[in-house]
């Protein structure tokens, strides 16, 4: 894993106030840059739709038990790939593969990151681990002073 310095990353917020980031995920056969939805209801690291996961050549690494939205639990397979995001290159990432449409970044991947979300201005700022405490942008500070 190569890492030089730290970065502040930009994500984007869509018209439905969903938070998106651009990441590059790779396996044994290829890398792909994708838009992934930040899903705080997902405690894993990364979830990929089947059609995104298969061409990457991900390595089957483990099995585990997962709880789904309908409360059901089931044994699922876990794959390992690599993640390039900001200054992080080729970081091993644990991947769930589901028959879904949207790649999801879960809380497990965001450990150590700081997310600043301004829904009003549709601005998402992500601070990589190692950056100082989050600072509130001056215009927000000004507004909150009464």
């Amino acid at each position: 894993m190569r890492r030089e310095g730290y970065m502040v990353l930009a994500g984007h917020i869509d018209e439905r106030n969903q938070l998106w980031v651009t990441i590059t995920v790779g396996g044994a056969t290829q890398k792909q840059t994708i838009q992934a939805l930040i899903d705080t209801g997902f405690t894993g690291e990364l979830s990929l739709p089947l059609h995104v996961a298969i061409p990457l050549g991900l390595q089957l690494t483990a099995a585990t038990k997962v709880t789904f939205a309908n409360g059901k639990e089931s044994e699922e397979m876990l794959f390992t790939g690599t993640l390039d995001w900001g200054t992080t290159a080729s970081r091993p990432v644990t991947i769930n593969v589901f028959n879904s449409d949207t790649p999801l970044v879960g809380g497990g991947l965001l450990q150590g990151y700081v997310l600043l979300v301004d829904f009003d201005k549709k601005r998402l700022i992500i601070k990589e681990p190692g950056i100082d405490e989050p600072s509130v942008p001056p215009e927000v500070k000004k507004k909150s002073k009464k």
Partner: protein
């Protein structure tokens, strides 16, 4: 369908999970005392386990020792390793044979 990854022999997921959980039961008390909420990758065949702060940490340590093995991942003290609130169980993969697993109900 042929196994797309011949280095990983097909396994029966149900049997694999059962044996892994049986092994985990033997180390569960110790881990719940010493490593609550951490992730553990277990290998029931060698009776080894690897702890990590994250799932990837635990699995990377396990893979470093046994690159070709498949492990069972558990979050210590939790009934499941992950939860996902935007997907129902119906969206889980149905064609498990794709990865060389045989799946029995």
């Amino acid at each position: 369908m042929s196994n797309p990854n011949p280095q990983q022999p097909p396994i029966n997921l149900e049997d694999f999970s059962k044996k892994s959980l049986e092994f985990y039961e033997q180390i569960k008390k110790k881990l719940e005392k010493e490593a609550m909420s951490k992730y553990v990758a277990v290998d029931h065949e060698t009776s080894n386990y690897w702890l990590g702060e994250t799932a990837s940490d635990a699995l990377s340590k396990a893979k470093a020792e046994f690159p070709q093995k498949i492990f069972y991942l558990i979050q210590v003290g939790s009934p499941t390793s992950f939860s996902i609130q935007s997907i129902t169980s119906g969206s889980a993969l149905e064609k498990r044979g794709l990865y060389g697993f045989s799946w029995t109900h």
